[in-house]
């Protein structure tokens, strides 16, 4: 985890030729739809059970949508605002590594939210999801308010690994890593 998104590591993984997808740039609706379709069309994923395939796609979709919704415009165009790496870890496990620039002012709230999710078991996460969904419906609130993270936690095999990297100008690079079991 300490090496998460180290430049050389990412390039090294790209050179291995293993099953993986790498994207660096802005996450748009079209990119999300294309990436999900590409992963879903993979023949070996067609062979796994429907719930397992859905867990992988759910985690991927929610990660990407979180990135799309929470990445501000950054003045320095030389810095990619989003990175996505999807890699096959074994026949029964895929890893998702995503990173995006966010406002440093929003870091404490996100940090607290993930810590709360990581301290909960699956049943508690389900309760949190139901409660939050009810609140969103009742308020007519169209913002996700952490529902995406909860869905990622429900799909992932373990805790949400994450890290904040300080940048200049009130921006922070947020990295998140989850593994999804396919069995």
């Amino acid at each position: 985890m300490a090496e998460l998104f180290e430049h050389e590591q990412v390039l090294g993984m790209m050179r291995t030729g293993r099953d993986q997808w790498f994207y660096c740039g802005e996450v748009s609706d079209d990119l999300i739809n294309s990436l999900v379709s590409a992963v879903d069309a993979k023949p070996e994923l067609q062979a796994v059970s429907r719930p397992a395939r859905r867990r992988l796609l759910s985690a991927l979709v929610e990660c990407l949508q979180n990135m799309r919704n929470n990445t501000p415009t950054v003045p320095n165009e030389s810095v990619p605002n989003s990175i996505v790496l999807i890699s096959k870890i074994s026949d029964y496990e895929y890893g998702l590594r995503c990173g995006n620039i966010m406002l440093t002012a929003d870091v404490p709230e996100l940090d607290e939210r993930i810590k709360k999710i990581n301290s909960a078991d699956q049943e508690q996460i389900k309760e949190m999801y139901m409660k939050q969904m009810s609140v969103v419906l009742g308020d007519g609130n169209r913002k996700s308010a952490g529902l995406g993270l909860l869905e990622i936690a429900r799909s992932a095999a373990g805790k949400i690994e994450y890290r904040f990297i300080d940048m200049d100008g009130g921006f922070t690079f947020f990295c998140v890593e989850v593994n999804v079991q396919l069995n």
Binding site: D29, N33, S49, P51, L57, E62, Q65, R68, L137, G140
Partner: protein, 130 residues
């Protein structure tokens, strides 16, 4: 009221809300990047239908094999608007189809049912059947 029909895409389901038969069907996968944009016409249609329908009963057939969080949120909103028809004496039956080997999707239906406080009928089928 006009029938609402939206063909399926790789990330959005087929919508066939037939006002002639009073059977409203959602079928396929619902993982759009912008769920609000996709479901907005559906929400408006449900709101209008609930306010104007003269039927005594309607059936909603949900045959989805995958919903992302945005879809759950907007589907909840659309169904809650449709359920307002109950205030006018309309019986609303929601049939939740799921693959016989995919109980996770049945669980998802139970979650939505609980939040809406409206019982669903759960129907297990083989995936090739829907």
């Amino acid at each position: 009221m006009d029938t609402l029909f939206i063909p399926a895409t790789k990330t959005t389901p087929q919508v066939d809300f037939n006002s002639a038969t009073n059977v409203f069907e959602l079928k396929g996968r619902s993982i759009p990047a912008d769920a609000m944009m996709f479901y907005q016409p559906l929400e408006r249609w449900c709101e209008s239908y609930a306010a104007n329908s003269t039927q005594t009963s309607i059936a909603v057939d949900v045959k989805l094999d995958h919903l992302n969080t945005g879809s759950v949120r907007t589907l909840l909103s659309a169904l809650s608007k449709l359920l307002k028809a109950r205030d006018r004496g309309v019986k609303v039956q929601i049939n939740w189809y799921y693959d016989v080997e995919d109980e996770d999707m049945m669980d998802k239906g139970e979650e939505i049912s609980l939040i809406l406080d409206h019982p669903f009928k759960y129907i297990a089928v083989r995936s090739e059947d829907y």
